[in-house]
């Protein structure tokens, strides 16, 4: 018998690498977050530089928090726990190394390109196409490595944590591929192949499921493995964990449209998103209760063990966020909360509470084991981290709730005469600035905790042995699969009846499910099918059924110069502070004008609806102010509006428009089906003409001379176009591409 046991080792070196990366990027992500928080309280903190301005840095913060910090945490968990649960070393050490270094290279590429303004402008999917391709390649390497390990496993049953990993790996791949479809228009520039409503739908199908399959399912896998380990007892109910898994696969995938309530999204999609979101509440709480009850009888340990403290609070925050999410997806609540800081509170209770605390719980459990030091450098410092982090997080979240509800109510408020109580947007900003200070303090505390944790882990690492011991493990290889035997023929069957009855019996005995758990390939295929089918049913109708996006004859493509201006708007990340979507609520139509229609966005590759109104909506901006107003406002918003918190954009007045790329960009748009007609041949000339026209008008308004070739002019061209088409009677030439427009319209 003995001779039949395999001897092997686990690869812990790779886990040590991922753990280190988790900590490093966690600090970077939170530093960026803290800088952004102070920028909103003191706009001078934008430092007057392009790379440090809010619109460019915010994507860096979110990407670093999600893909660098949480991402490396996930990989640490997957590489550590999968090897042990499968009783096998990772499939290929080379692939592990490729995965690790590839992923870090992607993060570095993100950290360089985002501040430089290279972005696809879709939240949490901002990275430009070459990086997107790299992500796909690295992800596939990860998948091969992971499934390869499953293939050579020595434990037949797949523990539930592994299911969560499988679902995550498969779904993230699907999401990334479909949402990132873009047509390149240069090395670091591309346009989403989808436009307007469809692009928005794709984006939030992606965005929401990234929350589900990047920030939830892998962390649940982490929880189902590391919590029992730390508590030294099995999970409270395995049944509940199965239920938890399938509910996420079957229900979560539908919930995306709740990000787009009251927008130009078709009503049915929005309602569907709401129903499924509300349905998610119960299984999520099932998961939370399952986690907490795992500690039954071990609460004494919680008081002394920082690992369990982090887990308990992490799981509690999972419960809070998964209660709040369904609440926010109810349309009437959403009308108040959307575009406000309430959403920021929500995501941070998830990110800081759930992802952050689960990560640190895991790290504190892992480090003494990985660095073979028998214990953490200081339990007391870890406990201090816990308390500082918890207080910081609570301050952060309470501040953002207060700010969100306050601003939301102010936007909706009418006075006795039926007019908006706070018609001046900036009033609603000034009111919440104190909360921005509280948030910055809370964030700083949380970061302090993280620094304490990093130091603690660093000191633990310092007392590691000179060489790590390699532990040799033995386990029997998988023999031939002994399937659960079908029940012995029953009395009835012996009597010659009921083949069918036996089948039913087989089904209800649940053996099929246990079989699945042993057949990872089948299991993966079915998860993938469930995800694809749900996504297809949800997303395709907006593409294929016309009535979902009624067209509007007066809506025309952007002129070449406007397109360039739009690209500047995208590069500067204005969408991080400004929406372009007037909801059909009286408070909004009073404030901004006619509500937005689906047909207005058919040429918007990518859409720019935004998700947070730190500044006012811009969908109806065109014609509201003279050009010169914009010049002065962009140069320094506080010259016009002393209380504004918008960053200065003075460089737009001195940086040149790159006319050499105009043609390329218009061509790309034309390839995507935007009807440019003949204008496609003279894009650069048309752009230059319109630019000098606007520059002349600025001079006539007694503004600075010589802006003709400057970026500000392109941006102004774009801003003056926003929301104008819908007011224009059909076929009235109003722009240099009028000819092209006519052709487009006659199609």
């Amino acid at each position: 018998m003995e001779s039949r046991l395999d001897r092997f080792t686990y690869d812990d070196a790779i886990v040590r690498k991922f753990v280190t990366a988790t900590i490093v990027w966690g600090v970077v992500a939170m530093l960026a977050g803290l800088l952004l928080a102070t920028q909103l309280a003191v706009p001078q903190m934008n430092l007057g530089l392009p790379f440090t301005s809010f619109g460019r840095l915010r994507p860096l913060h979110t990407n670093a928090a999600i893909f660098a910090f949480a991402g490396n945490a996930i990989f640490s968990a997957v590489y550590y726990s999968s090897q042990r649960l499968l009783k096998a070393r990772m499939f290929s050490d080379r692939l592990s190394a490729f995965h690790f270094w590839g992923w870090q290279a992607i993060i570095v590429a993100a950290a360089v390109t985002l501040p430089l303004g290279f972005t696809q402008a879709k939240e949490y999917a901002e990275l430009e196409w070459p990086i997107d391709i790299a992500i796909a390649v690295v992800w596939i390497a990860f998948a091969v490595n992971f499934f390869g390990t499953i293939a050579k496993r020595r434990e037949r049953h797949l523990y539930v944590a592994l299911w969560f990993y499988i679902a995550s790996i498969v779904t993230v791949a699907v999401l990334h591929v479909f949402n990132s479809m873009a047509l390149p228009a240069g090395w670091l520039k591309s346009y989403s192949v989808y436009a307007g409503v469809q692009d928005a739908f794709m984006q939030w199908w992606y965005g929401h499921n990234a929350v589900a399959f990047f920030l939830t399912t892998p962390f649940l896998g982490l929880m189902y493995y590391f919590l029992p380990k730390a508590a030294e007892r099995p999970v409270y109910s395995y049944k509940l964990s199965i239920l938890h898994f399938w509910s996420l696969v079957f229900i979560y995938i539908w919930a995306g449209p709740h990000h787009l309530h009251y927008t130009a999204l078709p009503e049915w999609a929005s309602t569907l998103g709401m129903i499924f979101s509300v349905m998610l509440w119960m299984p999520s709480w099932g998961g939370m209760i399952n986690g907490l009850l795992t500690l039954r009888g071990a609460w004494g340990k919680v008081a002394t063990d920082p690992v369990l403290k982090f887990f308990v609070v992490g799981i509690t925050f999972y419960g809070m966020s998964t209660f709040e999410g369904p609440l926010l997806s109810i349309k009437s609540v959403n009308a108040l909360a959307h575009y406000t800081d309430w959403i920021i509170a929500h995501v941070h209770s998830g990110a800081l509470g759930w992802n952050g605390f689960m990560t640190f719980g895991m790290l504190y459990w892992l480090t003494p084991r990985l660095f073979q030091t028998s214990k953490l450098w200081s339990q007391r410092l870890a406990a201090a981290h816990f308390w500082v982090g918890t207080v910081g997080m609570l301050l952060y979240i309470v501040a953002m709730y207060t700010s969100g509800v306050t601003q939301g109510l102010m936007w909706l408020a009418f006075d006795k005469t039926g007019r908006l109580s706070y018609p001046d947007f900036v009033e609603t900003v000034v009111r919440i600035i104190p909360m921005y200070w509280v948030r910055a303090v809370g964030g700083a505390l949380y970061l302090t905790g993280v620094l304490m944790g990093s130091f603690n882990i660093f000191m633990t690492w310092r007392s590691r042995p000179k060489t790590y011991e390699e532990i040799i493990v033995e386990a029997a290889p998988l023999g031939p699969d002994n399937l659960p035997k079908r029940a012995e023929p029953t009395a009835l069957e012996k009597a010659g009846v009921h083949v069918f009855g036996r089948k039913i019996d087989y089904f209800t005995e649940a053996n099929w499910h246990r079989l699945w758990e042993r057949k990872p390939f089948k299991f993966t295929v079915w998860v993938t099918i469930a995800v694809l089918v749900a996504s297809g049913f949800e997303v395709l109708p907006t593409f294929l059924i016309r009535s979902n996006v009624p067209s509007i004859a007066s809506v025309k493509p952007y002129t070449p110069l406007e397109l360039m201006g739009r690209d500047i708007y995208i590069a500067e990340g204005c969408y991080n502070c400004h929406s372009q979507m007037v909801r059909p609520l009286r408070a909004e139509t009073e404030r901004y004008g006619e509500y937005s229609k689906a047909g207005e966005f058919v040429y918007d590759h990518p859409f720019q609806w935004g998700s947070r109104r730190i500044g006012p909506d811009l969908a109806r901006l065109g014609g509201k102010y003279p050009h010169l107003w914009h010049v002065r406002h962009m140069e320094n918003p506080r010259d016009i509006n002393p209380q504004s918190i918008m960053p200065t954009y003075a460089w737009l007045l001195s940086d040149d428009i790159d006319f050499s790329v105009v043609q390329q960009r218009v061509d790309a748009m034309a390839m995507l089906g935007v009807p440019y007609g003949d204008a496609v041949l003279t894009a650069e000339k048309t752009a230059r003409e319109q630019a000098s026209l606007i520059a002349r008008e600025i001079e006539e308004q007694r503004g600075p001379a010589g802006l003709g070739g400057k970026q500000i002019v392109a941006l102004i061209a774009y801003m003056q176009r926003l929301g104008v088409d819908i007011r224009t009677p059909v076929a009235e030439p109003s722009s240099p591409t009028a000819n092209a427009n006519k052709q487009g319209a006659s199609k």
Partner: protein
């Protein structure tokens, strides 16, 4: 004639609701199965605890 012309005229708009019902039904049957029949799962639940303790046999200095 584009694909969207065909699909637009096929009267499929209600399909999303049908899919909703199917997904809800499948999900509810998983729930039902688990609660009526969840057979012995304790051995599975113990998997993470079984891993390194029992398996460790010797230590190699590397």
């Amino acid at each position: 004639m584009k694909l969207s012309d065909v699909v637009s005229h096929a009267g499929l708009a209600f399909y999303a609701e049908v899919a909703l019902v199917i997904f809800a039904a499948v999900f509810l049957s998983v729930v039902a199965y688990l609660f009526i029949r969840g057979s012995d799962l304790q051995t599975l639940a113990a998997l993470p605890l079984a891993d390194d303790v029992a398996a460790k046999v010797e230590v190699k200095q590397s």
